[in-house]
Subunit: 268 residues, 2 copies
């Protein structure tokens, strides 16, 4: 949805502003902001304090939030909102057994994500049993330009949508390796299209290295990306590319095939 | 929150009805109802069609839903609502390493849940690599009276809250073993309090057997339950009780201890 379309919709009689604002307040909670006062939440969302107060009280009375001395936090009931998506979409549970096989073979974690605006969203993840594992949950959002799955997903976009991406994206610098320009990213995406895989080396975070390949539907359209992410100190680029990449490609093919044979209109 | 309190709140000027209704529509989507027309969603929620139409259009324009020919489904962006809770609450990530150890030792799945009204909500889960694994995601809701974790959580409630539970609960019959009366459940809860663990044998689903023990805070209050669920055909009651129960109890104690030593006000 482009910003312009959303702005037009907001002028229509169908837009429910308080639903929009309520969802904004839920999303204001995060690891850094696990407990929020009305003022904090107002600052984070840009909404007025009276509005935020009514939203938090409503969420509290509906059981989605709880408060102690004016400090609010979310409750587990919020999980049921995300669960509504997961349970209504069996696509990613189809992928799970194949992801597990990959993790067993390589001893490394494996995730699937899709593109949502300028970000990727993790929709499935199987992690290793290593204590120092990379801490990512389903639902995590990361900027597409700084991740291998993002590169694969952007490389699969039609030209018009890629243009929209560049209109809405900012290049924040996370490490010395982070891609910082449209030109650089376009060059990288060209390589991803030619090779049918993408890789980033510590572009998002020092010590984090990953490769990703596309998951395609019957018509060859990229519908998701699957990756393998490792600690740079433990796994070299060569091992990633020579040993893990062929296994990841095989996993993606199996998932594409399994999805095509299930009755899921989204992927036909 | 009792029904009465919620009703009173709804009369106040602070209640935002359209946020309440919007969250109801999101929760109407499920495995059985993965794609909904305005009519379907209206029927499931009991809301009027014009109201549901505006909600679905708003969700679509905000990127939480998508539609094809008037049929709506949720998008992965909905996951970010549940993720707001998960990322703002590090409690369950503290439990993960201990749950993994349990799963490695026993080869069986392990979950943690908390009580939410008459239901339990799964907040953490580590499953086995077995192909025929029990298919449950974080965010799943199940009726407390038919699950071992539910028994442990109900047994830990103060008397007044247990009374509220019975006021709000219906006993649906899932199998021949399902508890069907308040008296029977009270007797079971008495046993759970005495033994400090609970077990159900095919009360929710044929072939599903599980044991659960409480996770307590520093003051001994039950804050969550942890279980081990198995296929009845593969694991006998004796094996569950003699081999897995001691390991589950040890796991719960380690988690209680780890949570008490972290700076988490919710559990002090």
């Amino acid at each position: 949805m482009s910003t312009e379309k959303l702005d037009n919709f907001k002028q229509s009689g169908d837009y429910i502003q308080s639903l929009d604002r309520g969802l904004q307040v839920i999303q204001a909670f995060s690891q850094q902001n696990s407990a929020l006062t009305v003022s904090n939440a107002a600052k984070l969302t840009g909404l007025s304090r009276p509005t935020v107060r009514r939203i938090l009280l409503t969420l509290e009375h509906l059981g989605f939030a709880e408060s102690t001395n004016g400090v609010f936090s979310l409750t587990a009931r919020t999980l049921t909102l995300g669960y509504a998506y997961l349970s209504s979409n069996n696509t990613w549970s189809i992928a799970h057994p194949f992801m597990r096989d990959f993790v067993n073979q390589t001893g490394e974690s494996c995730s699937i994500s899709i593109l949502d605006g300028p970000e990727i969203i993790y929709v499935a993840r199987v992690s290793t049993k290593r204590i120092m594992s990379i801490n990512i949950d389903v639902g995590t959002r990361l900027p597409a330009y700084a991740t291998s799955m993002g590169h694969v997903l952007l490389a699969g976009l039609p030209e018009e949508e890629l243009k929209n991406y560049f209109d809405s994206n900012d290049f924040t610098k996370f490490t010395d390796n982070t891609i910082q320009s449209k030109e650089h990213l376009l060059e990288v995406l060209k390589g991803v299209r030619e090779n049918n895989w993408g890789g980033v080396d510590q572009q998002l975070e020092e010590g984090l290295r990953s490769i990703a390949v596309p998951i395609r539907n019957l018509h060859g359209k990229v519908i998701a990306a699957i990756n393998c992410s490792v600690h740079a100190g433990r796994i070299s680029r060569d091992v990633l590319q020579d040993r893990f990449l062929p296994q990841l490609q095989e996993t993606a093919e199996k998932i594409s095939k399994a999805m095509s044979t299930t009755n899921n209109s989204r992927f036909i």
